[in-house]
């Protein structure tokens, strides 16, 4: 009978625990998201993070014990980031439609995303760690996390901020665009892709194919632009302080 008390410590040592918990929670969260008509606030990553965190807290399991298994899932982020080149390539013919406007919008929009995020947080007295973690929040999570690590932010905090920015874009993005009376699907899609990397916007944008393609383009190009610009802005900032 003693064995039953040793079971949990024993299972905690195998990577299986972290992997099973991650997959299980994600399946539940994804099911909920689809059942609720892909309502952006019920983002599956956000719900999974909440479910897993609660489970770890209830069982008093250390994050590092969980990550011992979850790291096998985490590892795939790198190759998946490389694979993002495929959808980017498939959307790239749209660039020919307006080469210079698209590139300028992505570069200036990317810089604006970084500086406005950092600026607002700094004005409101956020700490250096928070500010650096916020800087890459407009680009897709795998790239943002790598950038966060490079400039001295906290990648896990960045991951959550990226998801929250995606939700803001999905819930309020169309509303903001209607407010300034922008109807062109190219401009609408590109802007949402640049600022909120298309998380959760896919569903809404699928109503308009052009907007969807431009959102994908905005997301992919801004991931590249920010990966090059953010470290440069950071060294500039370090140089002046």
């Amino acid at each position: 009978m003693d064995k039953i008390f040793e079971l949990w410590p024993y299972l905690s040592l195998t990577p299986l625990l972290g992997i099973t918990l991650t997959l299980g929670c994600y399946i539940i969260a994804d099911g909920l998201y689809k059942k609720c008509n892909q309502f952006a606030i019920l983002n599956p990553v956000l719900i999974s993070v909440i479910l897993i965190s609660t489970a770890l807290w209830l069982t008093k399991t250390d994050y590092l014990v969980y990550f011992e298994g979850a790291k096998y899932i985490h590892f795939l982020l790198g190759p998946a980031t490389v694979a993002l080149a495929v959808p980017l390539y498939k959307n790239i013919h749209h660039v020919k439609a307006a080469l210079i406007p698209i590139f300028l919008t992505v570069i200036l929009g990317g810089v604006f995303a970084i500086t406005s995020g950092v600026g607002i947080a700094a004005l409101l007295g956020a700490s250096q760690e928070t500010i650096l973690s916020l800087a890459p929040k407009s680009v897709t999570a795998p790239v943002a996390m790598g950038l966060s690590k490079i400039i001295g932010g906290t990648p896990s905090l960045t991951a959550v901020l990226v998801i929250l920015s995606g939700i803001v874009g999905a819930v309020l993005g169309s509303f903001a665009l209607n407010l300034v009376r922008i109807k062109d699907p190219k401009a609408r899609g590109l802007a949402i892709g640049i600022a909120s990397h298309g998380i959760g916007t896919a569903h809404k944008l699928s109503l308009n194919e052009t907007a969807g393609a431009f959102a994908g383009l905005g997301m992919g190009l801004n991931a590249l632009a920010t990966a090059i610009i953010l470290p440069m802005l950071y060294s500039l900032y370090q140089y002046f302080t």
């Binding site: 190759p79 390539y89 307006a98 200036l108 995020g117």
Partner: protein, 113 residues
Amino acid sequence: MLIFFFVICFLQLIGEAIVYMTEIPIPGPVIGMILLLVSLIIKKGVPESFNTAANGLLRYLALLFVPAGVGVTLHFHLISKEWFAISASVVFATLLTIVFSALLMKFMVKSDG
């Protein structure tokens, strides 16, 4: 399928090697992504097997950042202390960026033609 996984791992490996040798501050996977994009542009097309494998992997892209996201629990103190600055930055910076980018694009496309 297998070839695609080999290619993306190999390109990331090259990316990491370039980052290590040149100390360029860009994530290794992003270099890998640029290399793959350039190869596809040169090749002028995506092989069907690549397409299937990439779609399969990217369908679950969101799942892949769950483990890192859970790491946010390690920073609970920081977030509860600075929640106001964080939420204001996330909400307003995102919306301002959307409006700024869309106006810019609209202005340039108009002045183009």
